[in-house]
Amino acid sequence: MENQFKTISKTLFSLINKDEVLTVSLTGEKSQFIRLNNAKIRQTGLVNDTDINLKMISNGTTCTGSFTLSGNDSFDLGRAKSEIERMRTESSQILKDPYVTMPSESGSSHEIKRSNGLSFENAVDAIMPSIQGVDFVGILSNGRMFRGNANSLGQEHWFETESFSLDYSLVAKNHQMVKGTFAGTDWNQNNFEQYLDQSKKKLKMMELNPVKIDTGNYKTWFEPAAVSDFINMFSWNGISEASIQQGCSGFGRMRNENIKLSAKFSISEDFSLGLVPKFNSNGEVSVERVPIISSGELKNTLVSSRTASEYGQVSNYAEPSEHLRSPSMAPGELNQNDILNEIDRGLYLSNIHYLNWSDNPKGRITGLTRYACFWVESGEIVGPIDTMRFDDSFYNYFGDSLLQVGKETEFIPSTSTYGNREMGGTTCPGILADSFALTL
């Protein structure tokens, strides 16, 4: 794959004119998917998919294009040449962009991660016997992923990794569910079976009599998976500098009104885990760690080079969409064993679902409880709760209402497979909030 990328990019660079700058990037995967329902196989297959993306800067304009790499060099080169010609023609037709961002030659990188993963041939036998006897539903996503970037100024990046993710739910007879995601790079059968056993034990707790609770405000513990979902919302009309400038960000209050979150809340963009490439789709390389919010104070937004040019900011080489690629929230002091006592009376939420801004400028997010969510009385779990809707502001639960932050962080892998398998995930602890609003 890397050789194909090098061949096609070098050939294309030889075709461009002196006043043209071309960036070529690649997103590819060779994946296996096994979809499961009721501990049986619903659908299964393999996907080889690689896209070449082109960005040409010429005549004060930026034109972009992409096509699927077929694997036939002459065929693919024909497609690429056709795209170059199209972009060249359009660059003389479309409006000039005063904020054209030229790529830079800021160094090259090469990273190939080898691992002892789960072979496509063995996947069924590795998983299926262990999940029998329980209502298991979910998906195995498995295989290699590739990212490449090169520009006509001489910069080259390559990143290749292999990973698996078994993302699943166990379902009790009363329809209560437990969520699990066994993910990694090296497959270890014992570790998988132990992880699954933990989920099965948790499922037993879901067989307790459900508790009906009323709407209102409750002291609430959020497991790391739930905190991760809140943090992911920052990538949508949140942390983006362009969003703030264009009046579409929940972070506007922090920027414009000097509102601070809790001193216990710190989050950064942290590439040190090495699970995603440090280079973005323009080939720009971020520093290893960008503090976003430190002790409750907004330190940095995510600034792409284009946003920097348009609004007079300094780029921190965010992606053009200015979303978090490797967020990491700092741990606190609350021990895992003390969580139930600290809740005393309130909610223990393992997962949340279907989040959306209900009032973006005020930071208000609505969504629902899902999976292992419990009512706690006198520091003990009473039983699972029925699904409840919440509607509350992150300025509350990451702000004045934030009582404590968990001592242990978890890595919550991204399991998204829209278009292609995503890399990376979110590292974060759980949090305890004094008040959280349930509305329906």
Binding site: S70, L95, N356, T366
Partner: protein
């Protein structure tokens, strides 16, 4: 430009002892162009092209999605798909036959008068720039944007039991957006909410809408919202415009009736459903005014087609008749698994994903009431347009939706403008509170390009058409 492939000849390259083989080729290009604040931010042309080779072995399907459309590539793909299916077959959830891939042959093309692809990049840029400038009616408009995305999809499906289906689609997504800011008050107004203006159409759609007039109206309404009162909190009547009904239908009817959800396939991702298999033919889903159709035959709607991706012929069917649930959204696989009648809705997002039960066009049929009759019947309530926020639980029960623009209804008349209109409810009682349905004059055709579902995940296009509707005694509320 799509490369022409002789797909039928590639079936000969398949050399595995499968009970059935299908090859589904998809080429798709998206050409988005966008102007924001007077500057071009997108002029792209993104294409994807590949095939999915699918085989049936011992009652289990296996697939291989590949961009290598050579004979060698298809041979390798079929071998690997065969291995996947065979290995999985001892744990098959259901043992299928080729009954679920019926033999079918035919063609479909989107209807249009003037080809969208004939508009030059220059002309679209200028049209969008003019629209963008028209949106900026005040210095308080801090951001204005205009977007047109032309989508071309070519689909070809052949199979070992004689299917040969060719479908060509030409689509347009069009949007205008203005964000007004005054201090901490931010308000965004768009052309139909959340990219809701999307059609199978030609250039005539752009010619027929008065783009500059619409842009001016959207800009002015964004400014109007800055000084509008907050939406009141309380239980009251709500009149919902078609561009918000689009999402109401999508989330609280469409997804709930997908039979693969009811069968549990989606429980780890999108969720389950409050509807059970035994509810079909018995459940009063909504009031007697409620008539919902699965209708892939509306020529200009976003998700019209002649065959689904398994080859089943697509026909209009009632899902809900006079409020009674009569049919689910289940393709052939779901039909044999559930024993229910279904529809031709077995669809995939592209060549690299396997088909599952999806919506197509799910429409609320017009009633008898005029706009004035509906508004005139409300003593106290709100009128809302254009979705901006959506959320619903994994059983499709508890929803909450936010809209861009609202008006108070007082004593049968539209009065002052209100900002941040939100409402929430539970699907079944909500639809049973449907009191009046607008006539054809109040009807609007919308859709969404971003319906997410499935594992691996798939985004698909769906259409929703609806008249104006009145619901009584709904929880409404405003901003924080």
């Amino acid at each position: 430009m799509r490369d022409k492939i002789n797909l039928k000849s590639l079936l000969d390259a398949v050399n595995v002892p499968a009970d059935w083989v299908g090859i589904r080729e998809v080429y798709e290009s998206n050409t988005p162009r966008m102007i924001r604040d007077g500057i071009p931010v997108s002029n792209g042309h993104y294409s994807t092209h590949g095939v999915m080779v699918e085989v049936l072995v011992n009652g289990q399907f296996g697939y291989f999605g590949t961009p290598d459309i050579s004979k060698k590539g298809i041979e390798e793909a079929s071998n690997k798909a065969y291995f996947q299916a065979k290995a999985a077959s001892k744990y098959a959830l259901h043992r299928f036959t080729d009954e679920v891939r019926p033999k079918s042959a035919g063609k479909y093309s989107s209807e249009f008068e003037k080809d969208l692809r004939d508009i030059s990049a220059k002309d679209i840029n200028i049209m969008l720039l003019d629209a963008c400038n028209a949106l900026k009616v005040s210095d308080k408009i801090v951001s204005a944007s205009s977007l047109a995305n032309v989508i071309e999809t070519n689909f070809h499906f052949v199979s070992s039991n004689g299917s040969d289906v060719v479908q060509d689609f030409l689509m347009l997504e069009f949007d205008l957006s203005a964000t007004a800011v005054d201090g901490a008050n931010q308000q965004t107004r768009t052309f139909g909410g959340m990219r809701g203006t999307c059609r199978q159409t030609g250039r005539e759609f752009l010619d027929n809408i008065e783009i500059l007039a619409q842009a001016n109206k959207i800009g002015n309404q964004a400014i109007e919202l800055l000084s509008a009162d907050e939406t009141p909190t309380g239980e009251m009547d709500i009149v919902i415009a078609p561009d918000q009904m689009m999402l109401q239908i999508h989330e609280s009817i469409g997804h709930a009736l997908e039979v693969d959800r009811i069968l549990g396939d989606e429980r780890n991702y999108a969720g389950w459903s409050f509807v059970k298999l035994e509810d079909f033919g018995k459940m009063q889903y909504g009031s007697k005014h409620m008539n919902i159709t699965f209708d892939p035959t509306v020529s200009s709607e976003f998700a019209s087609y002649a065959f689904d991706d398994g080859g089943l012929k697509a026909e209009r069917e009632y899902l809900i008749k006079d409020g009674l649930l009569v049919r689910g959204l289940g393709g052939k696989e779901s039909q044999v698994r559930s024993g229910l009648e279904g529809v031709a809705n077995f669809r995939a997002s592209s060549w690299n994903r396997a088909p599952i039960d999806r919506m197509a066009n799910i429409n609320l049929e017009p009633g008898e009431s005029s706009f004035d009759e509906i508004i005139g019947s409300v003593e106290k309530g709100i009128y809302v347009e254009s979705n901006r926020s959506w959320s619903i639980d994994d059983y499709r029960n508890k929803f909450q939706f936010g809209c861009e623009y609202g008006k108070m209804i007082e004593n049968g008349k539209l009065t002052k403008t209100i900002k941040n209109p939100n409402y929430r409810g539970i699907s079944n009682p909500f639809w049973n509170s449907l009191k009046m349905v607008g006539n054809g004059d109040t009807y609007g055709i919308y859709g969404t390009p971003n319906c997410g579902k499935g594992e691996p995940n798939q985004v698909i296009r769906v259409g929703h058409a609806s008249p104006l509707c009145l619901f009584e005694n709904i929880q409404v509320f405003g901003g924080a």
